[in-house]
Symmetry: C2
Amino acid sequence: MFERPRGTRDFGPEEMAERRKLENILRRTFESYGYHEVMTPTFEHAELFVERSGPGILDEMYTFKDKGGRELSLRPELTAPVMRFYAQDMQRSPKPLKLYYFGPAFRYERPQKGRYREFWQMGLELIGADTPQATAEMISVAYDSMKNAGLKNFRLRIGDVKILKNFLDSIGKNDRDTMRAIDKRDTELPDEIMEFISMNNPEELENHGPEDEVEHYRNVLDLLSSAGVEYVMDLGIARGLDYYTGVVFEIEAPELGAEKQICGGGEYRLAELFGAQPVATSGFAIGFDRTLLALKKDGFKAELKGPDAYVIGSKETISEAFALARKMRNAGCIVEMELTGKGMGKALKKASSIGSKYAVLVGEDEVESGEYTIKDLSSGEQRKMPLEELLSLCPSDKEGY
Amino acid sequence: MFERPRGTRDFGPEEMAERRKLENILRRTFESYGYHEVMTPTFEHAELFVERSGPGILDEMYTFKDKGGRELSLRPELTAPVMRFYAQDMQRSPKPLKLYYFGPAFRYERPQKGRYREFWQMGLELIGADTPQATAEMISVAYDSMKNAGLKNFRLRIGDVKILKNFLDSIGKNDRDTMRAIDKRDTELPDEIMEFISMNNPEELENHGPEDEVEHYRNVLDLLSSAGVEYVMDLGIARGLDYYTGVVFEIEAPELGAEKQICGGGEYRLAELFGAQPVATSGFAIGFDRTLLALKKDGFKAELKGPDAYVIGSKETISEAFALARKMRNAGCIVEMELTGKGMGKALKKASSIGSKYAVLVGEDEVESGEYTIKDLSSGEQRKMPLEELLSLCPSDKEGY
């Protein structure tokens, strides 16, 4: 017996229906802001991720060799690949560029509860705009994603690493260890830092700097307030990675406990690292699996759709039944037919058990008369109708074909 | 400058729109037959693929080690993973099981024209049904996929490996080399074999066997004919892999030349190999990239949708403009706004250049009066309307939210 690799998952029909439902809600939200989808390879040169995240990332990636001997890694995240794509092919595109992505990322580690070796991210990059409205709009996409998905209980926290670092500079504590401690909140922090990161009103920023960044940050917050986006100010968001330059944000779903962070991002500079001209960029990634987990605690689900009709023929009429089923599908219906040679009684039971709306009986009488027997499987009502009437029952939703 | 790994591709917005369009057509077609989507991990234990395809597959896969020291491979195809999933978790599900998948697969080789190291497959497995109508229906899904996508010139060829092997047995030539030669048609074949595989009328099968298989094969062909599915009979389809048991088929798009095969499948036995109870199975995989290539030669394309509206505020009205844009999005519109601080004239040009239907001007007058100025960017017409009327322009397509 073969098993799926440890730390990975298979998704059956019910789970896939839920995942596609959430994916579509997020896609529509992103697209409602004018973002367009891009896709990059599942693996990249390992150095790309080292450049973004430092050499520590090498221990966290699945890495293997190309025929040419170069090291390739399954992507641990999608921002570096998208910015690599930008640097390689899209630098001349009109700005701002609004790109989104959805796909799997990989983490080489011992599996733990709620953390998988293959997980999905949906995110965006806004390239070439750094006004307050640009940043506020980007944050608003993340907020509306959660709202549109129906997440009831979540918290959007917004900070600014430039203001945070400026403050830490002023007290001689702008170092990696302090940033890490602030990010993780796992050690006791000095009172003066606690006091700073506990500010929750932009008015209190008056004596802090840099001045233009404080103004930018306050403008972003004001825009979000004016549009009805609810958030809390939190200058204790440090976001670990060095390339964040200003406003940063996180969204958490408290009911997920320790794994509560479901989205994070901010303003950053990364294009230069990959050899492109400097360009203002912001973006975020949503942890798709965790978001779905939080939503399911709120009752999120997707119905697995049964067929519109289940066509049942007999040995003598199987050709007619088979041809009818195809006609109905081409008219827009979802149609199954009896495939295992069962008799009428068992076939009707099967039709009900898979949730079909109608059963369509194709016996010799029906073939002769050209009128098919339609049984409504919820009411039990049964009547005869000619082909045309039968086809008119189909939703005829052929757009896109 | 970082580059994408050799033999891989990035897809920009235009290409992604085309890919999603084709993906959706194929999904709808599969779903119109009652198939449900499943998803398996991007990598599997290497042995899984060796079990399906023989040890030669090891040279064609990207393989790396787990933390536990087990060998993992990026999947070179998706049938083995789906059947592994079936064997592991779905053996007790009611039959027939109708499963489909869509995802990337990987090929470790020197890149060549039209062959990529990462490529996409869409396919299905029908588990637990082996009647003629089951097999004919499965083939019909593949045929309708191409029809619904709008492919003009393709050829569905249907053969039967059991009948072929029975014939080769009768002339003492049922060996791998002969099967391979028939499959590839790259060497001269003996006249008696050429004559056999040139039959193109089921009537000619009378003196061939096995009898029940000949009947099954003819029944499958008859069903397809009765439903209007066009095909050619071709007993020279050998399908390489040993696990095919009966009817097999291929679809080719002649305009693709040497890489013309865009779909292949048939009846097979694989569950047992993976430790499951024996079960009749059939299925096929569509080469997504090649199919798209063939379609594009026929003019297939997808429009990259511009926004419904482009909202332009001024320094003084930016909050109102920002809030209005969010309201319109929540009403179902795709809305962009000016994000780089451009003046009105440049912003209007930008709105036109990205294909927006309307520009919505939010000046101080508008804020005061509560009536926004709407400019139709194709006609140039301009008029004022209150918020409610403006929101009624949005398609309000919020189903799924």
